[in-house]
Symmetry: D2
Subunit: 325 residues, 4 copies
Amino acid sequence: MRLGMVGLGRMGGNLVRRLARAGIGAVVWDRDPAAVAALAAEGAEGASGLADLVRRLEAPRTVWVMLPAGEATEAALAELAGLLAPGDVAIDGGNGMWKDAIRRAAMLRAKGIDFLDIGTSGGVWGLARGYCLMIGGPEAQVARLDPVLAALAPGEGTAAPTPGRDPAGDPRPPRGYVHCGPNGAGHFTKMVHNAIEYGMMQAMAEGLELLQQAGSDRLPEDQRLDLPVPDITEAWRRGSVVASWLLDLTAQALAADGELSGYTGRVGDSGEGRWAVQAAIDSAVPAPVLSAALYARFRSRQDGPFADRALSAMRNAFGGHLEPR
Amino acid sequence: MRLGMVGLGRMGGNLVRRLARAGIGAVVWDRDPAAVAALAAEGAEGASGLADLVRRLEAPRTVWVMLPAGEATEAALAELAGLLAPGDVAIDGGNGMWKDAIRRAAMLRAKGIDFLDIGTSGGVWGLARGYCLMIGGPEAQVARLDPVLAALAPGEGTAAPTPGRDPAGDPRPPRGYVHCGPNGAGHFTKMVHNAIEYGMMQAMAEGLELLQQAGSDRLPEDQRLDLPVPDITEAWRRGSVVASWLLDLTAQALAADGELSGYTGRVGDSGEGRWAVQAAIDSAVPAPVLSAALYARFRSRQDGPFADRALSAMRNAFGGHLEPR
Amino acid sequence: MRLGMVGLGRMGGNLVRRLARAGIGAVVWDRDPAAVAALAAEGAEGASGLADLVRRLEAPRTVWVMLPAGEATEAALAELAGLLAPGDVAIDGGNGMWKDAIRRAAMLRAKGIDFLDIGTSGGVWGLARGYCLMIGGPEAQVARLDPVLAALAPGEGTAAPTPGRDPAGDPRPPRGYVHCGPNGAGHFTKMVHNAIEYGMMQAMAEGLELLQQAGSDRLPEDQRLDLPVPDITEAWRRGSVVASWLLDLTAQALAADGELSGYTGRVGDSGEGRWAVQAAIDSAVPAPVLSAALYARFRSRQDGPFADRALSAMRNAFGGHLEPR
Amino acid sequence: MRLGMVGLGRMGGNLVRRLARAGIGAVVWDRDPAAVAALAAEGAEGASGLADLVRRLEAPRTVWVMLPAGEATEAALAELAGLLAPGDVAIDGGNGMWKDAIRRAAMLRAKGIDFLDIGTSGGVWGLARGYCLMIGGPEAQVARLDPVLAALAPGEGTAAPTPGRDPAGDPRPPRGYVHCGPNGAGHFTKMVHNAIEYGMMQAMAEGLELLQQAGSDRLPEDQRLDLPVPDITEAWRRGSVVASWLLDLTAQALAADGELSGYTGRVGDSGEGRWAVQAAIDSAVPAPVLSAALYARFRSRQDGPFADRALSAMRNAFGGHLEPR
């Protein structure tokens, strides 16, 4: 079995490499020829374009698109709709909007082509650690691609068994991949996953700032504590309730620089955190933490926003208060 | 009837002036002799210190302390405890912590002196507009001081009658002052008042930023709107659900400078907003808006805080993401 | 000058009545014949349907649609697109989504018909108090309809002049109506208005609960305060920083029932608060208070939601904690 | 080496058992004789009271108090202050307030007795998994007790080494315990730990509700997804960014009952989450997620709170809106 991989960035290239380790080959393409050449040097088969990539694959074909969400993915899938044949499957492994997955599936389905939306978590560590896959689309294709999915996923031994889990249940989730339902379900689940990630990160970030500010000169002198933040995060990795992969990474970043002085604190965000808040609103689910985490990122990129100037103006207007400093 | 006023800043001086208009005299003191001289020039009787101020008043004496909350107020009340006599009353009209009011009342009560904690809202506009007074302490003193309180308050005609309000009810609230209960109740009520104020201000500030950013180039070009924010706030003052004094002041600030470019957006906060969140925690009352308003002010005074740097570090660690810009 | 009014509910009927007081007539229709008959009895001209309504108006026609946002409004405007003529104007005075306004304007514009999206604030009090109008669409039609808009708006005397406002500025905002920009701008502005309203309401609601719970038996006995909440809100109406129309209404509700025992606390929400959060996300504006206010309403309608059960399950899993009670 | 253990509940008993496995004995006491007898049956030495427990230990004595924070701990430490001798150490291993730790340390120090505040994370799993210990107090005692602390902690092998961590750094954090600083630092760190825990839990809970409600009939029919929530959490345990011990426990709870129908959703909270918000306020650190997590728990225990009834009353007052349902 082999598949086509479109997009050889941080994620796509490593997916190909992890598959190769399991003996699964790939025909690869990227708009950057150097990226294609690099993978080809490692044994993948390079293609000169989407049409060429499709031509090199045996039916039923599998083409995994691993491009930035939005226009790049849209264009690739539209082109693939004209190149693939009934029985083939196109996969969007990026961070796409789940409603787009539903729409794209319908577009491809009209030509007899199947579609899978696969949320792919693991980042730069996935090559070594495996990718957690959240899959939406027809079960027949998910079943056909099981060797691919199993090869990409971390595998059962990477976490202890869950006590009480039904041994007759779906064997895939304990290996790190899950068929979430029809098209859209994979990207919806990934969207929620990322929103939880935002919230966990923000919880940790607020706590770290509390630790770091425990010695602040805003506090009465006899209540100041100078805490060894890197050591604390290291200790928390074992036995504590907050033990987590995010904590592992935080301890690692703090081991390298306890002040994190290499960062300005301008925090990026991708679409997933935003869509999750919209989903919360659509289903009338209160999501205060997921929203707060998103807003903290928005705020991190602002300087003296209008809202804050308006507060200062109001305080001045009713109380004659000047701005501090 | 006349009283002593300790502290002749933005608030204390105007309280004396408003009382004078009602024919109520004052003996005044401030650590700044120029402030005393200024009021004396307007007809008040200047004192050379707290002891002198007390000596000049007739029993039963009323001394209104209008100093910054904290040490200044604490020191003045401690000194007054040694100067006043049974039957006299000391008033803390500042933004004191309500638990301090309970403690101070007990301290004075042990010497037979009464105490009133009076939350005083009105800011720089109070001289013309009247002060809303929230009073804690013994009813006998509140009743004795009714002429003073009535003179400071805005008066019944400054708002339309509340339909359905019991005509036999307490006549004071419709005049703008209210006896909230025993000591502590006045400052507790003022604390809640200010927390609501923070929340209303933040609601307005967020809305204003939404209006101002409606033309942001972060939006698709065909969805950008260039809105006349000053005119909008002016129109909202009439007939809308958000009509309020804060809106009046906002419209005024925007009439002067639609960009509010004279402000940096570093927003101060006093103790009241903080104590209100603590009170919410003490009584297990969810207060998401009151807290969010407080945190927005904290955040407005930070640049690249540790929490945000930690988020950037985590994003880099798991996804190789660089900070935006 | 007269206009057509489609939809004679709480809002539409009173708009007609307020116009009549200014000598502006209306041809009216509603799917409920009784509503038409009631207005006709007051002097309006009843129509038997949209086509009949349009037929009875003189060109250039003005048809104000005052229906629930969504399907009802969509259907009426679609039908009007086939009935009106170039030069006529259709108005959506409801709480429509601002992007729908842009779309509908384009749909009507293709037939030469103008469109105005007019956010209308004032509720059940608008008849007496006037309506605050936020208008999007072509200035020529806004100018032509000035007598209608001026008649509906509260008028200049209903609030004190804003000090410093340029006397040569647009005269309409001080009368309570504002031309916000092209189509979409009116409903966008109304959306933000309502979001601010949500935030102000929630700020007040949290504060009121703090007051009401100040005597809670969760507090140490010597720190409990039994506060006269209705009297406090009455006093705040005069001279305080939180004075506002919402406070007037709150004081009124508490004058009728200090415990608000006639309410269960299930709080409804319309689309506007939701769209505002989406707009905040679209333009990357932090809106913690506007969101918190929305989520409080979502939460008010839930009983034992999955999120809370999940928290209990986690606490039990790591700490053996049972649920309280 | 052996120590005294006061309080043999869920935590204290297992601490003794884990120490026994490392060959460290204990003299134990609890107000419940059955608890003492149970531990004695496993090899511990039972005491009949605090005085007896102290008498049975060899100097320098170590007495670990593992009681509910508040009065029980206060009383035990006060009694120990009269029983222990200079050179001895008393430990508070409970969830005490960090300012209490500073005060208690001073109280004991005045008698020459040392004090350690040790935040102890691990819950019902600590016996098998080890306890993460966050320690405040004099380094000499921490060093002396190293065998005890090392025996309780999980040990280095329970997590992978942190890349880049200085091999010459403090060897204790990689084993799962950390000396955070002088008295107060241990409980302060535990307080922040628990606040992060609250935030992570709430992030996860909100995400789970989003998944569970993805099929809600509040959504348009063609956008509903019926997601296998237990399988999703199982898959996330491997390779995903949200992998964490809390997720392990969540997957376990969902494996047992995918609907979590055994829980009502009333969520308890202890002091730590509350104190953390107070600490955030004291040091002016924005903590929106930590607060939101706390408020969600408060709200989970309310039915129709005053705040929500006030919102309904306001909506009715300005718009004539009735409560939904």
